[in-house]
Symmetry: C2
Subunit: 756 residues, 2 copies
C-alpha cells in the first residue's frame, strides 16, 4: 500500500490574538548565537513595555533558538517522579518551549520540585534565559496526585450552576498554580453532537451557547491576574472545530459548510470571545471539508480560501501548519520540521511566520511572569493550597449537584437501614475519565461501594460483581441474582470506563480519547446482568457510570429508578450514596440528550426541523421522539411549579437585555434545587431554523413549601445567527419558552416578543 | 407552538440549461389574453426556429396563462382509469403544465386513452394550443400495469453491466413513449452514503462516479431523438443534492461544505454533464448548510452567496424558489403562489423569472414534439411495444445479474430435487419499491415461493411464514422450525418491504420514500425466526429482500449461504430460483457496503482515511472493518483469477486515456461472469484523500477453464477533484488497483503511474 500523506496529528497550539504586524528581523543562520547580550538588555527589564521586551529578546535569537521554542518536552517524568537524564537532555536540546508533567501517578509533592528544578535550570542554562512553560491537561484538576480530584467536564456541566462552576475553576486554577503549572489545555468546548465519540465526557454538552457560557467563566477565572499583574494560568480553548465528525471519530472528517460551522461548531468560541480572550487555541484532529484542521487557514486566521496542503514529508507538513497559524506542537516533531529545510523550502521562506509564532510564545511567557518570577517549587503553596478545605467543599458540592436522576418511580430515597445488593462491575471503580491523577489499583475508599457500605452498614450491603466490564467470560450472574433476591433491592452499577493510560483498568476502556463507541449498549455481559436482575422481579435501581449516554430502551425501562454519575472525582461515590438515602436531593440536569436507540441519530434537542423524521412518517424503530431523555432533563425528590414567565416589556432593541422573571415554587415535602431553563426560537429566518436554542438558565435553591422569584437575563445580541460569515440579529418576531427541560411538554409559553 | 416557516417540499423541476439571456416581454395584466393570434403565427410553424417559436408563443401569453404552465395536474386518475371531471377541471384551470398518471393500479390499455384524450383536449381547448406534457415516475418502468415490471434502480446497478443497463433503459423508454409519457422523474443519482435512508433502493449506490456513469447511459438513451428529430422522453436528474443528510432523513439537513458537495454529492451530476444534458433537474427535499435546496441558488445556478430565504407565506416561498431557479412544481401550489401577489410583491418583480421559466418549459414541449405530433393514444404501440419479447428478455437478464450471493459455504447450488422449507414473510411477496405498477393483492405467480415451487416441485417445498413482516404478534416460529427440520434445508426469506401506496402491504413498510430505518435489523419478529431456525441446527440459506443493507452480524453468520434480491420486478422470484439450483451462476456485486452493525457509520468504502477508527484504536463494538460486506463484493459458483493489470504506459497527459488490460481466468467448473473493478488513489493532494475511488469496471462472461483479456479505459480527466469550486487534475503520482471488490485483500496492485 502507498505511503499516506501525513500531517500533524499531535497537539498544536495557535494563539488567538492577532498576528504582530511587522515581524522582527529574519536571521537565517547561526550568526545571532554569537551576539553579545548586554546586561541591561530591554527584555530583562520587568518595567519595560511588554512588546518591547518581546521584540528585543527576539532580536538576539538565532534560528535554532527560535524554532526550539515551538516544541516541548512531554511526558518526561516516569512514575516515582524520576526521569532519564540523557533522554531529557536529548529532547530538550531542540525543544525549549514547554514541559509537561509526565506520569499521572506522581504525587505533586514529589514531582513539582523535580519539574520546577528543570524549569529553573532551563532558564539558567538558556543562553538568553528563556525558561520552559509548564503546560498540562487539567480535566479533573492537575494531573498530579495529592491534588483535589474533581469530576470531568461533562459531569460538572450537569450541575447547571455557573457560580459554583466558577468557584471550582478558581480552586482548580490555584492548585495548578501551586504546582507551577501555568498553562492548561482546557476548556474543551466541542459541541457534543455525536454520542458515539469517546470524548463526550471531556466536553460540556450539546448546546453551543451553554458551552460558551461555562467556558467563558472558566477562562476568565483561570486567567485572572495575580497581585503582581501576572496571568495566573493560561488557557487553551479547543478543539477548533469539532463536534459532528464523521462516525464520531476523533480524527474524522467534518462536513459542515460555513453556516453550520459558525452557528453550531464555532458558536462556543464566538460566545467566549465576546467575553474573554483565551491565551491559546488548539485546532482539532479532524479534517474540515477535506482540509486538516491543523492546515486550515479558515478557522484559525479566517483568511480564505485555504491554501494549505496535506503533505508527504515532515518539512511540508510543518511549513503548511505554520502557514495556517499553528505555532507550537506539544511533541517533538514541529521544530524538527524546520531544522533542516531542503529543496525549494528555505529558512527565508518561513522566517516571518516563525518570528510571529515565537513572538507570541515569548509574549505569553512574559505575561505569565516566567522571566520575572522565582520559578522554584513553592512548598508552602503545595501544602496550603492543594486539597484545601474550600477546594474539597466546592468539589463535593459540584459533584452532588451533577448526578442526574433520570427516572424514579418512588423507590428513592431509600431508608437509611435498607438492605441492598450492589451489583455490577462499576460499583467498586473510580471512573474519572482519561486525564485524572488516579489509578484504580489504589484503594482510596472512594468508590460507590465504599460509600454505600459506610452509609448503610456492611451488614446491609452485599456486593456481587456479576460480570466483568468488557469480558464476555467468567460471569457470576446467578450469584448476583441470588444476592438481589436476598436483599430485596438491587443497585446495578454499570457503564463504560474511561480512565488514565496508567490505570489498572486501561484495557477495559470503551470510552475516552481515541475511542469510539458506535453502540451505546453496555459493553461485555453487563446488559445480560441487568436483564437477569430485572427479570428476576427484584426492584432494581440502575446506576450509570461513564462519560456518555447509554441505550436505556427495553428492559432498563422496567427498573424502578435510574441515576447517572458520568465521570466522577473523589466525591462521586459518597455523593451518590447521599442521594440514594435522601441526604441530598438530586438536582443535576442532562447537558446531552439520550437517544431511544443507539442507531437513532441525531438526538440533540437543537436540530433543524427536518432532521427528525416527521410525526406520522414511518421510522424503524418506531419512535415519537428521537430521545428517551432530553437535554435539560433531571428529576428531584420534590416537586416544583414554574410560573409563566413575565417579561419587562415585549419589544426590544438590538442591544437590549430581556429581563425575564419566573416564580419557582417547591410544592413537595423536601428542600430542593431547580434549574430554570430559557429557550427561544426566531419565527422566520433566512436559514432553516433550529427548533429551539437555550439562551439562559439559573439554578435556585427552594425550601419545601416556598416560592422564589428567579430572574434570567437574555442578551438580545445573542439571539442572532451567522449567514455566510456575517452575524445578524433580525428584526421581527421571536418566541421565548421557559421550563425545566428542553422537552416541549416541559416548557410553558411561548411568549412572543418583537425585536426592533 | 409557533407557525413554522414553510417552503416547497413538493417535487419541483428546474432546467439545467442556461437561462435565456433576454427575457420576453413582461405582460403584467390580462391584456394579452385578448391578443388576436394569427393563423400563421411563428410558433405554429414546425419549420421555424425553436427559439423563435418559444419567443413568439410567449408574446401572446397573459399572466395567468404563463403561471399556469408552472404547475400540473397530478394523480387525477383513480383506480379503473376514471376521474372526477369537476375536480379535474378545477385543478386544470390554473395548472396547465404537466399531467401525471394517477393510480398505479391502472392498466396502460385503459388509462392511456383517457390520459391521451385529456392531453389532446388540453391542446385543443387552450387558447394558444399548449398541451399538457405527460410526466411520471419510472423507477421500475411506467407506473401503469400491463407494462414490463423491471427491478428498482439499486437492484439493476448491482448487475454492474453498463451495456445491459443501456438496453434496459431503451426498453423502458420505448414503453414510456408508447404510453405517451414523455417526461420521467429519473434518474436518481443520490449517493447512497447513509444506509438508514428509506430511498436507497431508488438510488444506484454509494459511488458518485459509478452513479454518474449509469445515469449518463440512462439519460443518453432515454432522451434519444426519434426519426422526426423529437426527443423521445425527457429525463430529470435528481435530487440536487442529497446522500448524506442528517439522520438519513429525506428532508434532513446536509452539512457538507463546498469541497464535500462537489467531490461527493454533486459528482454524479458533474460526471453526467460531461457526457449528456438531462432535460431537467430536481432539487432535493433537504436543506444545504441551512438553506432549503429549493431556495438555494448555489447548487442550481452556481451563483453565490445564496440570498434565498425560508418564508412565512406561500407567496414568499414561491418567489424565493422561483428566484433560486425553480420553474415547475408537480403539485398545485406553485402557480397559486403567483396568482395573487400583495404587499411589496409585484408581478413586475417576478415577471422576468416567470418568463424564463415558462420559456424553458415551452421549449421542452416543442422539443418533445407536443405541438407538432398527434398526441392521441397509439394503440398499435401499446400492443406491440409494451411487454415485447425483447423487453422481457432484457428484464430477465438484468434481474438474474443483479442478485448478489453474499456468502456460500458450499450448500449452493441445490440439487434440482432438493426438499426445502421456505420460511419467512417475504417469500410470497413481490417487493418492488414504491414506484411500481403492482400490488401484492394480485396473484401473478411472480413471487419467489411461486418460482421455487415450480422449480423443485410442490412436494419438495413446504412454506411456513413463521412471522409477519412487522407485527410482533401471531408468530408460528415453532411450526417453521418443524418444517425446516422435516425438509433438512431451510430457505429463510426476510427483509423489509417498500411497495406502492396502493399495495396491500403498504402498512408493513419500513423502507421507501419518507421512511427512515435507523436500525438495519429485521423488523418485527423476523430476527427471532432466523435465530430459531439457525439454532435448530438445520442448514439455512438466508434470502434477503428490500432496498437496503441489513445487519448480518451474529446468528446470520451461522447460516450456510446468504443472497440479496433487493427490490425486484416480475422476474425476481424466478431468477432467484434459477440461481439456487445452479441454472444461473450469480454475478451481482454490491453497490452499497453492508455495515457490521447498524450503529457503525460510515460504512461506504470511499471514505477519508481518518473517518474509520484506526486499526489499533478501540472501537465498541470491536471491528477490524466497518463493513461486513464491502462495495463490489459478490460471489460466484465458479472461481476466477485476475491477472495483475498491464498498462499501455506509465506516464500520461491530462487528457489521455489509460488503457488497462487484465486477464480473467475462470478456474472453476462452471461458466460465470466476473466484474473487473478498477480503483485509484492520488498519492498526495491538497485535500484529505479518499482511501480509493472507483474509476472503471467491466463485466465479462468467461466459460469454465477459459481466460479472457479485459480492457478497461480510465479517462485521466476524471482522476481530478474539486477544491473551492475549481476542478483540477494534479500532476504527480497515482496508484491503480484492480480486483473483484473494493476490499484491500481483493485488490492487486497498486500499479504506480505518473500524470504529467
Amino acid at each position: 500500500m502507498a505511503k499516506c500523506s501525513i500531517f500533524f496529528h499531535a497537539l498544536v497550539v495557535a494563539f488567538v490574538s492577532g498576528r504582530i504586524a511587522s515581524a522582527a528581523g529574519t536571521e537565517v543562520d547561526g550568526a545571532n548565537c554569537q551576539l553579545e547580550v548586554p546586561e541591561d538588555a530591554v527584555y530583562k527589564n520587568p518595567k519595560a513595555d511588554l512588546s518591547d521586551r518581546v521584540a528585543d529578546l527576539l532580536s538576539y535569537m538565532c534560528w535554532d533558538e527560535k524554532i526550539a521554542q515551538m516544541g516541548g518536552v512531554g511526558g518526561i517524568l516516569g512514575q516515582n517522579s524520576t526521569y532519564d537524564a540523557a533522554q531529557y537532555l536529548d529532547r530538550a536540546k531542540l525543544h525549549n518551549g514547554t514541559i509537561s508533567p509526565g506520569s499521572y501517578l506522581n504525587y505533586a509533592k514529589d514531582a513539582v520540585p523535580v519539574l520546577s528544578d528543570l524549569i529553573v535550570a532551563s532558564k539558567k542554562e538558556h543562553r538568553l534565559g528563556i525558561p520552559f512553560v509548564h503546560i498540562g491537561d487539567a480535566v479533573n484538576g492537575p494531573t498530579l496526585r495529592g491534588t483535589t480530584l474533581f469530576p470531568a467536564t461533562l459531569t460538572m456541566a450537569m450541575a447547571w450552576d455557573l457560580p459554583l462552576y466558577t468557584t471550582v475553576a478558581a480552586a482548580l486554577r490555584d492548585e495548578l498554580h501551586a504546582c507551577g503549572i501555568t498553562w492548561v489545555l482546557s476548556p474543551e468546548v466541542d459541541v457534543a453532537r455525536d454520542p458515539r465519540s469517546g470524548r463526550v465526557g471531556e466536553m460540556y454538552g450539546e448546546d453551543p451557547w451553554m458551552n460558551g457560557e461555562l467556558a467563558a467563566a472558566y477562562i476568565g477565572t483561570v486567567q485572572e491576574k495575580d497581585s503582581d499583574g501576572f496571568m495566573k494560568v493560561a488557557t487553551t480553548i479547543k478543539h477548533y472545530v469539532f463536534g459532528t465528525s464523521t462516525g464520531g471519530v476523533n480524527q474524522g472528517s467534518i462536513l459542515g459548510g460555513k453556516n453550520h460551522i459558525y452557528n453550531i461548531l464555532a458558536l462556543p468560541y464566538i460566545n467566549v470571545l465576546q467575553k474573554v480572550t483565551p491565551a491559546s487555541l488548539m485546532p482539532s484532529y479532524a479534517t474540515i471539508d477535506g482540509v486538516p484542521a491543523h492546515q486550515h487557514k479558515f478557522p484559525i486566521t479566517r483568511s480564505t480560501p485555504p491554501t494549505t496542503r496535506t503533505a508527504s514529508t515532515l518539512n511540508d507538513a510543518g511549513i503548511q501548519s505554520l502557514e495556517a497559524g499553528v505555532e507550537l506542537e506539544l511533541a517533538i516533531r514541529f521544530p524538527t520540521a524546520f531544522e533542516s529545510l531542503s529543496g525549494n523550502q528555505t529558512v527565508e521562506g518561513v522566517a516571518g511566520n516563525v518570528n510571529e509564532a515565537v513572538s507570541r510564545l515569548l509574549n505569553l511567557k512574559f505575561e505569565l511572569g516566567l522571566f520575572d518570577r522565582d520559578l522554584s517549587a513553592n512548598t508552602t503553596a503545595l501544602t496550603e493550597v492543594l486539597r484545601s478545605e474550600e477546594h474539597l467543599e466546592a468539589n463535593e458540592r459540584i459533584t452532588s449537584e451533577s448526578i442526574v436522576l433520570l427516572k424514579n418511580n418512588g423507590i428513592l430515597p431509600l431508608s437509611a437501614n435498607q438492605k441492598v445488593a450492589v451489583l455490577g462491575p462499576l460499583a467498586d471503580v473510580v471512573n474519572t475519565g482519561t486525564y485524572a491523577a488516579w489509578t484504580n489499583a489504589e484503594n482510596g475508599n472512594l468508590t460507590f461501594l465504599d460509600a454505600i457500605t459506610a452509609t448503610l452498614g456492611s451488614d446491609n450491603v452485599k456486593h456481587v460483581k456479576g460480570v466483568e466490564i468488557t469480558s464476555e467470560e467468567n460471569s457470576s450472574i446467578d450469584e448476583a441474582v441470588a444476592a438481589a433476591k436476598d436483599a430485596g433491592i438491587a443497585i446495578v452499577v454499570i457503564g463504560s470506563v474511561a480512565v488514565g493510560y496508567e490505570d489498572s483498568l486501561v484495557n477495559e476502556r470503551t470510552d475516552g480519547e481515541g475511542l469510539t463507541h458506535a453502540s451505546l449498549k453496555f459493553p461485555g455481559l453487563q446488559g445480560d446482568l441487568l436483564s437477569a436482575v430485572i427479570e428476576s422481579g427484584v426492584p432494581t435501581i440502575i446506576v450509570l457510570s461513564g462519560g456518555q449516554a447509554f441505550e436505556l430502551s427495553g428492559v432498563a425501562q422496567d427498573s424502578q429508578a435510574i441515576l447517572h454519575t458520568f465521570l466522577g472525582g473523589e466525591f462521586s461515590g459518597r455523593a451518590l450514596a447521599d442521594i440514594l438515602i435522601g441526604k441530598t436531593n438530586p438536582s443535576g440536569k442532562l447537558t446531552i440528550s439520550f437517544p431511544a436507540y443507539s442507531e437513532v441519530n441525531p438526538v440533540y434537542y437543537n436540530h433543524e426541523p427536518s432532521d427528525w423524521q416527521a410525526a406520522g412518517a414511518i421510522q424503524f424503530p418506531y419512535l415519537s421522539h428521537n430521545y428517551l431523555y432530553p437535554f435539560g432533563h433531571g428529576l428531584s425528590y420534590t416537586t416544583f411549579n414554574l410560573s409563566s414567565p413575565s417579561l419587562d416589556k415585549t419589544t426590544y432593541g438590538k442591544t437590549d437585555a430581556i429581563k425575564l422573571s419566573v416564580t419557582v415554587s417547591n410544592t413537595g415535602s423536601v428542600d430542593g434545587k431547580q434549574v430554570v431553563q430559557v429557550y427561544f426560537r426566531q419565527q422566520v429566518a433566512p436559514l432553516s431554523l433550529l427548533v429551539k436554542r437555550l439562551i439562559g438558565f439559573s439554578k435556585v435553591d427552594v425550601p419545601s413549601g416556598s416560592s422564589i422569584d428567579v430572574g434570567v437575563e437574555i442578551r438580545v445580541a445573542e439571539l442572532g445567527y451567522w449567514l455566510e460569515g456575517e452575524y445578524r440579529v433580525d428584526s421581527g418576531g421571536y418566541e421565548i419558552f421557559v421550563g425545566d427541560s428542553s422537552d416541549d411538554n416541559s416548557l410553558s409559553g411561548p411568549v412572543a416578543i418583537h425585536i426592533e
